[in-house]
């Protein structure tokens, strides 16, 4: 029998709480200030995207996947496109692949910068949070220049990219100038963070997640890599083969490592962007030589900004979507977050969760509680069955 820890009280934070950027609930079981156990409850904002996709024509449906998340919109479009391309064996031109990688790395930087903004806001350091949002503007603008929209650039389409997103020489020059300027400012920003002893005292040695735990709880993406787990799907993706970049792996596994890992990853993203601008091949940007038709259930894994992303679906003979499933990085990271909180102060625990960069509304899917009767239980059903507290 598992030994139950004796805890003094429960502090319940959320789902309505000013510190939470999304509706979820954190139950902290604490002794004085020390967290003995943690439970994160999600599923407060179900939007039914998978249900929405059911039966839609594949070309139309894949635009909807971009709406799963506002921060990592491109990864959803690209991965949904990859599912169909893999299932229907559609060849993608090299130039299109390069531009897909470009927009993805631009958005990865924007995502990491929003992570810094949120993490420093949770830390209480408004200046660094504001600064991070200011730096992020460069990449929001670049996304608008390339895709026509700051948040939803909608670059990938089945077989390539939208013609709107093709790179001209002047656009390449603008991107190059902007990232050079950004790198200078960003380097100073990171150096200032690392030199700030007060911030480091909050981050160092807090929210520890060992490599074993990271693997056990499947903490993918930067969270796993900050705990010494060398796992990055980009190294397995053929789109990333032409590019030389390092997978940043740190062994400390604390909040500092998770911040530093992302900080260093941004430099690698810049390295990839420079290689794209230098070696962008000439040629077509989209392959229109395909017709929607029956496709067996196909799965595609992808290295999103927060970890491993899975999209899967099948197409019927008319090319309509059947059984679309999305697993965003956060569900696999949730257990790791709960583990990492234990043993720290309450205030640190919230920081630890923020340092794992959760995106909870994206990961919320339908929840059937009563499998036997195959129906979703209402609050009244639950109260009837389990009683009122």
């Amino acid at each position: 029998m598992m030994e139950r820890k004796v805890v003094e009280k429960e502090i319940s934070i959320g789902p309505v709480h000013p510190a939470l950027i999304e509706p979820y609930r954190i139950r902290l079981f604490v002794n004085d200030e020390i967290v003995e156990d943690c439970e994160i409850n999600i599923n407060m904002a179900y939007r039914g995207i998978e249900r929405l996709l059911e039966g839609l024509p594949v070309e139309k449906a894949l635009l909807i996947t971009e709406r799963v998340c506002g921060i990592c919109s491109n990864v959803h479009t690209w991965n949904s496109v990859r599912v169909v391309e893999a299932g229907l064996r559609i060849e993608v031109p090299d130039r299109a692949n390069y531009i897909r990688v470009l927009i993805n790395e631009i958005q990865r930087i924007a995502s990491h910068l929003i992570f810094f903004g949120h993490a420093f806001e949770v830390l209480g350091h408004e200046t660094f949070a504001m600064r991070s949002f200011l730096l992020r503007e460069v990449f929001m603008d670049l996304m608008a220049y390339i895709g026509g929209n700051r948040v939803m650039p909608a670059v990938p389409v089945i077989g390539g990219i939208r013609p709107r997103a093709d790179l001209t020489d002047s656009l390449k020059r603008v991107i190059s100038e902007r990232i050079n300027d950004f790198e200078k400012k960003y380097r100073e920003y990171v150096e200032r963070i690392l030199a700030d002893s007060m911030i480091m005292s909050r981050l160092t040695g807090v929210g520890l997640l060992s490599k074993e735990d990271a693997i056990k709880y499947h903490a993918t993406g930067p969270n796993g890599r900050a705990s010494g787990w060398n796992y990055d799907i980009r190294t397995l993706m053929h789109e990333y083969e032409p590019f030389d970049f390092e997978v940043i792996v740190l062994n400390e596994g604390d909040n500092k490592a998770r911040v530093v890992q992302r900080a260093l990853e941004v430099f690698e993203c810049l390295k990839i962007i420079r290689q794209i601008l230098k070696n962008l091949p000439e040629g077509p940007i989209v392959n229109r030589d395909w017709i929607p038709g029956k496709m067996n259930y196909t799965i595609s894994y992808f290295e999103a900004f927060r970890g491993e992303l899975m999209h899967s679906c099948a197409l019927d003979s008319q090319g309509l979507i059947r059984g679309y499933k999305i697993r965003t990085p956060t569900p696999t990271n949730l257990a790791a977050m709960e583990r990492a909180c234990v043993g720290d102060h309450i205030t640190d625990a919230i920081l630890t969760i923020a340092s794992c960069d959760p995106c909870l509304t994206c990961c919320t899917r339908v929840e059937v509680i009563n499998f036997d009767e195959s129906k979703t239980m209402t609050v009244m059903d639950i109260m009837k069955k389990y009683g009122r507290r």
Binding site: V7, E8, K9, E10, I11, S12, I13, V16, H17, P18, A19, R27, F29, D32, E33, D37, E39, N41, F120, V122, L123, G124, H125, E126, T127, M130, R131, L134, M198, I199, S201, R202, H345, I346, T347, D348, I350, L351, V379, I382, M383, Y386, G387, R388, R389
Partner: protein, 338 residues
């Protein structure tokens, strides 16, 4: 009669003036963060006016009337802190002494404990069903209101956090070798008692123990105001605003008055004790000098806030101990008269 008039004038001057300070504070922070920031009068003056005219909302508290009265009690405590530092109160029963100041400050600190213990905001209400998610790790465990947790933090801050401030407060009295504020001013500015205006000839701030005590006093000032990096009892990320969470409308306006007044009064007391320029409504030059110099602490505070994260007790305890040691060193030097 003179006592009544000076007290009234002091209240009339200090309350509106203190409402400007948050605007200055916010403007400085915004400039540091490369933002424009709000207009100077908005965070203090207009915010208070706005809340005053909002529809009254009854706070949810165990003892609602007691909870509401704490705000007005807080304003009175802070006002009396200012009064005790004023020359017209120096002869009243020895209240204008280190004991009077420390006593009132301790009362002010304890208000947050009471507020936290009373408030029961909607944000921590228990759900109507048992928590069954993931096997319900904690069924039956006492669930605490966020504000109650803030009250526990307030007790810790009372016990440890604010110690440096009290040690720093002792230093000018040790230098003056008296417990009375009048003697502290006399040591620094003998002309105050005879001339319409004279600059202090020997301000404590510019002595070694005075300088050390100033550093400690400033940090103590930050701690007492619950500002970053020592804002653990109103950390937005967990306990939100702590005990004051349930104050709305007029009560929220009252809370802002109390907080802003404390911001000014502690700074004014610093000018009185460390520079020898008291807040005296009957001597306009001293009054103006005191008011202007009182801006030093809020400005320094706003810079510190802009560059600080929230510290947890892991950092607050060692910081408080370190500062107390520094304060004790200043006290020993001042007693030895080095």
């Amino acid at each position: 009669m003179e006592l009544l008039i000076t007290s009234l004038i002091a209240a009339i001057i200090s309350i509106p003036y203190s409402l400007i300070i948050p605007g200055i504070e916010r403007k400085i922070q915004a400039r540091i963060q490369q933002r424009i920031g709000p207009p100077i009068l908005t965070p203090g003056f207009w915010a208070v006016l706005k809340f005053y005219y909002k529809k009254d909302v009854e706070p949810i508290a165990f003892l609602s009337r007691f909870y509401k009265s704490l705000i007005w009690l807080g304003i009175f405590i802070v006002l009396f802190l200012l009064f005790f530092s004023m020359p017209s109160w120096w002869n009243i029963l020895g209240w204008a002494s280190i004991l009077g100041l420390v006593g009132l400050l301790k009362l002010e600190e304890s208000l947050y404990v009471f507020m936290g213990a009373q408030s029961q905001s909607f944000l921590s209400t228990t759900m109507p069903v048992p928590d069954l998610a993931k096997g319900a790790k904690g069924i039956g465990i006492h669930r605490e209101f966020l504000e109650q947790h803030s009250a526990e933090r307030a007790i810790k801050m009372m016990a440890v956090g604010s110690l440096p401030l009290y040690i720093a407060l002792l230093v000018p009295f040790a230098i003056a070798k008296s417990a009375m504020i009048s003697e502290v001013v006399r040591v620094q500015n003998p002309g105050f008692f005879s001339l319409a205006f004279s600059l202090p000839s020997n301000p404590i701030l510019f002595t070694v123990p005075g300088f050390l005590a100033t550093i400690v006093y400033f940090i103590g000032y930050v701690i007492l105001l619950n500002e970053k990096p020592f804002s653990i009892l109103k950390a937005k990320i967990d306990v939100i605003e702590g005990g004051v969470l349930e104050y709305a409308a007029k009560l929220r306006a009252g809370y802002y008055i109390m907080r802003n007044l404390l911001l000014f009064v502690l700074s004014s007391i610093f000018v009185t004790l460390f520079l020898g320029i008291p807040f005296d409504p009957l001597k306009p030059f001293y009054l103006i000098f005191n008011i202007i110099l009182s801006l030093i602490m809020p400005i320094a505070l706003s810079i510190l806030v802009a560059f600080s994260p929230i510290l947890t007790f892991r950092q607050i305890y060692p910081s408080a101990v370190g500062l107390s040691v520094l304060g004790a060193l200043a006290l020993i030097i001042s007693i030895l008269g080095v």
